[in-house]
């Protein structure tokens, strides 16, 4: 029996999980006097679906914002692909190959679905501004290649029908899917999903779960997701970190976490004294 916490194993459904891709070491994040994250460590293996769960205000989103460079922890280290990551701006993190979605959706409302997803390819475009303006040689090849990746993502997420629609006109569930598409178009090494099912109805949640599993399966994308809803997460993820009041109270497979007394208490609301 492999030890799942060390990585390098094959899952029951035949997916290969590799070495550590990202490691958070003793992260502490404060806002003024408020401690949002208290000395948390965990790792993410290549190819796995890793969830961070916890009740409201547990510090999950803060954690994701640390990973994606929107927040900078006062203490602790972030390791990515075997290297210690210096404090970085969000756009630099994105260029490292870490894509994300947002809890309250951050799309370019005025642009079409296609244009939105194309922005995910910005970091894969190398030709100069002038050759792009003149639409010559390398620039044209590049545009075609990028379009191919984008079209593949569009097919994959089944949003062909709305590709020309301005995003502002889409219903909530589809917006979430477009946001996922934009993140995927970047071909990220690590995909961060901030409450991908928030505000969705049962059917939309099922669709989203299926897409997340398929993305992981098909492209081998490593995914770290935050969820509020415990049920959904347990079916999706390989390993789960549980947070409560900024502290880590559990870490392991869904089954291990489910039987952890601290986790049960946190979710059922035992008084903290």
């Amino acid at each position: 029996m492999n030890d799942m916490s060390q990585g390098n194993y094959t899952t029951a459904d035949g997916r290969k999980i590799g070495n550590t891709l990202m490691e958070m070491k003793n992260i502490t994040l404060r806002f003024g006097g408020v401690v949002a994250i208290k000395d948390i460590s965990f790792d993410i293996h290549e190819g796995e679906i890793r969830a961070i769960i916890g009740p409201n205000g547990a510090g999950k989103s803060s954690m994701l914002n640390v990973v994606s460079g929107f927040y900078h922890p006062q203490e602790g280290e972030v390791w990515f692909r075997g290297e210690k990551r210096p404090p970085m701006k969000p756009y630099e993190v994105a260029r490292l190959g870490i894509a994300r979605t947002f809890q309250n959706i951050a799309l370019f409302e005025g642009m079409s679905v296609l244009d939105n997803i194309m922005t995910g390819r910005l970091n894969h475009m190398k030709s100069s501004m002038f050759s792009q303006m003149l639409w010559k040689g390398k620039a044209e090849r590049e545009e075609v290649e990028n379009r191919e990746v984008v079209e593949k993502v569009i097919d994959f997420l089944e949003i062909q029908a709305i590709r020309k629609t301005p995003v502002g006109r889409l219903p909530y569930g589809l917006k979430k899917r477009v946001e996922l598409a934009r993140a995927l178009a970047a071909e990220p090494k690590l995909l961060l999903l901030d409450e991908p099912m928030a505000g969705m109805n049962v059917e939309e949640k099922e669709d989203m779960s299926r897409f997340i599993l398929d993305v992981n399966d098909e492209f081998g994308t490593t995914i770290a997701l935050i969820e509020h809803d415990m049920g959904v997460v347990m079916d999706l993820s390989d390993r789960v970190v549980v947070m409560d009041y900024g502290k880590k109270i559990g870490d392991g497979t869904p089954d291990e976490v489910r039987n952890n007394q601290d986790v049960i208490d946190a979710y059922l609301g035992v008084s903290h004294d």
């Binding site: 005025g110 194309m118 993140a183």
Partner: protein
Amino acid sequence: MPDQVLFAMEVMLNGLMAGVLYALVALGFVLIYKASGIFNYAQGVMALFSALTLVGIMEGQVPFSHLINAIFGTDIHHFGWHVPALVAIILTIAVMILFAWLVQKVIFRHLVNQEPILLFMATIGLAYFLEGFGDLMWGSEIKRLDVGLPQGINEWIDLTTFEAFGYGFFIDNLDISATIVAIFLVAGLIVFSQYTKQGRALRAVADDHQAALSVGISLNFIWVLVWSVAGFVALVAGIMWGAKSGVQFSLSLIALKALPVLMLGGFTSIPGAIVGGLIIGVGEKLFEFLIGPMVGGATENWFAYVLALVFLVFRPQGLFGEKIIERV
């Protein structure tokens, strides 16, 4: 055709040409406003400053010569060379890019997420600083700017219209060149924003900062870029106004005519800036021609603002602006 109608047509055509210049200035406002939500009061002064710099470089003027002479007791004013127009234009573009970078680095970087009114105040400060700086750097006398654009009456139009209507239209060659340059500039801007990586990034930043960051766009870079482009547009406007009426400090006041143009066209629309400019240009010339004599003339000073006010009442978002919908 009766003379009155012919005169009116000529006035209209001249209005169109003047409108192109208004549109050029307005374009610079729109670019920065769209990308960063900053209403850049300094756009007009940027046109003045770039034109001053262009003349200074072309004439081989020593920058800050008054200051240098006052401190060191020297008496130098000119390097003694002349720089060809094209080279001088390229150098001026470099200066405007440096200016864009400095503005971002020294001012707006520190004002991210501040109230729009604060950003606006910062640009007012910037405008007066830049005006004084331009004065210190290049001197305050009126300068002639000649980059080799054709000037004077267009003979061909004069002759053709004379043969057709028995009355020759007076259209300045300079206005025609300004129109052609403006068309190319706008076409270039559209191609830039639609087909380049930077243009797409710029549209993305204009739409949502957070989302832009998450796909790996550096906001700082985009803001420097957009100020550089606005600087370039200012230079084009500066060249045209400068060639028409000399490079002088009143240039920055003329630029305020871009305000009614923007109210008309919408603050976020490039086509709006152009159509707005043309409407104001034609409107004020025609109004002066038709109504001016009845009210004692000088209507050009206020007509544009009144027209903009009327527009504001009926269509506050402008002709092409995004409709403002507040969801309750």
